[in-house]
Amino acid sequence: MSDDFNFVIKDYESNFKPTWCPGCGNFSQWRAIRQALIELEIPPEEVVAVSGIGCSSHMPNFLKVYGLQTLHGRGIPVATGIRLANPELTVLVYAGDGDIYGIGGNHFLHACRRNVDIISIVSNNFVYGLTTGQASPTTPVGTTTRTTPRGSIENPINPIAVALSAGATFVARGFSGDLKHLTYVIKEAIDHRGFAFVDIYSPCITFNRNQTFNYFREKVYKVEETEHDKEDFYAALDLSNQRFMKDNLPIGIFYQIEHKTTYEERDFTLNQGIIPAHASLDITKEQIEAITKEFY
């Protein structure tokens, strides 16, 4: 770590203490994000944490960075606008499974294909927590919740496979119960050039009696400890198709490629190093002539 970077974990922590249930999976993500920012030496003022609505989306409240909580499902477009207006910023989207895969699903698809350099972290607890326990897009078939008292009859979404097929250039999964590995995954995601997506198994200790810490602890294994080639798209897709309730569950970086250009690199204006947020508001005589010639 360089000498002039002396921020510590506390420096990224707001005065407002987390309101999550004691033991919630979100706590370790709170810690992992801050730790990753420190390890990457990104000062707090250069970070924008954008969220949606839900338990996990309270995250920006508890961080001392530029924090912006938006609406349910709308973190990704707002974050995209932020990044396009100022590509010098590190822009994190942090939200839950209902938020990103449900109501904001359309934005998620397009963020994957667009490859704007933002990081989307999904705290996936397989349930709607803040509204007190309804089925979510990731709730496994048969699960009883308050809206599926006879067991869920819908197939859950496979977020990793969706992200891969939509063209994401960084696709990973973490587990709230393994802080060290989670920090590593988030750090790699932030460091990635292009859109980075991390789904996190994050047990809800209040409304989910099935996908618990113990459940995951027994099943997860790290892909980094296997022969998995993260540049192999089809290997990643195979890995994403593990049967959720039956097989062991891989965590880690499923897929990462760096050779695809980012949206920022392709954009005519950004590619010239212009930062729209700080660009001069004045317009020159030459510009005026060029844009009004057609009206004479």
């Binding site: 309270h58 920006p60 409240n61 530029y66 924090g67 990704i76 100022n86 508001l281």
Partner: protein, 582 residues
């Protein structure tokens, strides 16, 4: 002597009607005429029935007018439909190899001007649309246009396509000219020397875009929707010159979301759509409201509800704009009335949104968005300055400090010590949410009260900056005509024509919908004798809005909701009816 002519091109989608209408408008503008052009079209890409009507005058042009002096029929199908629209003294130009006006039972006393457009074109090129240029050549004889000026416009339009195209067009033009001369076509005006035109010719949407550019717009996002799409087209075309971001998004929710993100970062940002897209945007518009993020949203109204009539005009989103999003927050709503005013509103909207950290909604309508008009040369040079942005905040910086005007200094991401949290929930001055562990606590109740007041009182200060409504025309007239949006100048024309008949009327035009000049508008209405409200909707939204704000109930109403712009003759008959004049 005032010269005033109305030319109507009638064709199908695929006949090149838009480019020919735009081109002929430019030709007339080059001859120093004041021009207003508007196309009435359908939501089809090929076929159908479309009109492009152009009015040119040496006097001010207030509306595209009603009865056409010169009608050009571009195919048999539309010629059949158009029969009922022909007025008796019109000159009708048509290709007699394809169209037989007698067979179509066109009125006897029209002046028929047959010309074998396709046959003439065939000798020159395979390009079918060239027949339109042959037509221009022939009309030039009627209007006494200067061949050099017409060629100049053609050169400007097709110059980049190479010499061959240019010369083919010139040849087509000359053949049309020759045909009309040889066949002794009527000459409405003699040829003469025209003074060099200084004006611009531009659409409402383009003028609005120029206004926003002039005020420092750096980010625009949108999803295609008629009639707002041409704003994106124009900005995208010039993006390399402007160094801005123009983003087509996956839907209108993303469009407004991205604009909000960019604005939060400090880029002056806007998004635009029509009613359907505006419906999708509403939730995030409310978020920008409570987070106090500057934002400009354009809603170019078209006939609703739902998909309605996509290519037709209406003014029926007033209450949608006024009631946009749940809860209460300050929203500024402006409705420009003309191409020239669209430019100024573009500037004002961007400026006010940043100065007061509010959402500004611009309510256009299709008739204004898509009309092409000559206006004085616009001055885009402005000294833009930034408002309430702290570059070096100290460590105790508070984002939502309660102030007299309601505006608190903001910091942009990237600024040291400027970090703050904001969310879509109510908050205290520091930005901490009042929705979770602080909700409902005795000490937070007054904070909520003060936060709402802080945001809402911005409107009082904005109102002071806005131009006050005034009565246009004579005082003490027997009737006052109330209008809003694009009907303003159509009403003006009616007033002018009524005057000729010895009937006096004046006008109260409402440009600023929120904040509203309640006092001024009440006073004007209280003093009026009869009041007639003219608007393009079924329920009388402006009439109801005025009553809600002032208590004044406008007794007489003229409304049109068939998708076409109100015309002066409708207003004139209504005025006579109200004043009981035969």
């Amino acid at each position: 002597m005032t010269k005033d002519v109305i030319i109507r091109f009638v064709g199908s989608a695929g006949d090149g009607l838009v480019s020919l209408g735009d081109l002929f408008s430019k030709i007339l503008k080059k001859h120093n005429f004041n021009v207003l052009g508007f196309r009435s079209y359908q939501s089809v890409i090929r076929g159908g029935y479309n009109e492009y009507q152009i009015r040119a005058s040496t006097d001010e042009v207030l509306s595209v007018g009603e009865d056409a002096d010169i009608i050009v029929l571009l195919n048999k199908h539309v010629a059949g439909i158009h029969r009922t629209r022909v007025n008796s003294n019109a000159m009708v130009i048509y290709d007699n190899d394809y169209i037989d006006l007698d067979e179509l039972e066109y009125p006897e006393n029209i002046k028929k001007l047959p010309i074998p457009l396709a046959a003439i074109t065939k000798d020159i090129s395979k390009l079918k649309v060239l027949k339109n240029i042959v037509g221009f050549g022939a009309i030039s004889i009627i209007l006494g246009l200067d061949e050099t000026l017409v060629k100049e416009v053609i050169f400007e339009q097709f110059g980049q396509k190479g010499e061959e195209i240019i010369f083919t067009n010139y040849e087509a033009l000359e053949k049309g000219d020759k045909f009309a001369t040889e066949n002794n076509w009527p000459v409405k005006w003699e040829k003469h020397k025209y003074e060099k035109a200084q004006q611009m010719i531009i659409t409402g949407n383009e003028a609005l875009a120029l206004g926003m550019i002039s005020a420092g717009l750096k980010f625009y996002s949108g999803y295609p929707m008629t009639p707002a799409t041409s704003i994106v087209h124009y900005l995208t075309k010039h993006l390399p010159t402007l160094g801005m971001i123009v983003k087509q998004t996956e839907d209108e929710i993303a469009a407004v979301g991205m604009a909000i993100g960019a604005a939060y970062c400090g880029a002056r940002a806007a998004t635009g759509t029509s009613g359907g897209g505006f419906s999708l945007m509403t939730e995030l518009i409310g978020m920008a409201g409570i987070e106090e993020i500057p934002l400009v949203v354009i809603n170019s109204q078209r006939a609703g509800p739902s998909t309605g009539m996509a290519t037709k005009t209406e003014q029926a989103d007033l209450f949608q704009a006024y009631g946009v999003s749940q809860g209460e927050f300050p929203k500024v709503i402006m409705a420009p009335s003309s191409v020239l005013e669209a430019f100024q509103v573009g500037i004002d909207a961007v400026e006010i949104s940043e100065k007061y950290q509010v959402v500004v909604i611009i309510l256009l309508d299709l008739y204004l968005s898509e009309q092409i008009a000559t206006i004085r040369k616009l001055d885009l040079v402005r000294e833009n300055k930034r408002y309430e942005i702290l570059e070096n905040p100290d460590e105790n910086y508070i984002r939502y400090k309660i102030t007299e005007k309601g505006v608190s200094s903001r910091t942009l991401p990237g600024t040291k010590n400027g970090m703050f949290f904001t969310g879509s929930s109510e908050r205290n001055e520091q930005g901490t949410s009042l929705a979770s562990t602080l909700a409902g606590l005795p000490e937070t109740l007054p904070i909520r009260e003060e936060m709402v007041k802080k945001r809402m009182r911005k409107l009082d200060y904005i109102l002071e900056e806005l131009e006050k409504p005034k009565v246009f025309g004579e005082e003490n007239t027997p009737i006052t005509l109330v209008s809003w949006g694009s009907t303003k100048y159509i009403v003006r024309e009616a007033i002018k024509l009524l005057k000729i008949e010895g009937i006096s009327a004046n006008q109260l035009h409402v440009k600023h919908i929120n904040p509203f000049h309640t006092k001024e508008i009440s006073e004007i209405l209280e003093q009026a004798k009869e009041v007639l409200c003219i608007e393009q909707n079924y329920t009388g939204q402006m009439k109801d809005f005025i009553r809600m704000k002032t208590g004044f109930n406008i007794e007489h109403n003229l409304r049109r909701w068939d998708g076409e712009p109100i015309v002066p003759s409708q207003i004139i008959s209504k005025v006579k009816e109200v004043l009981k004049i035969e």
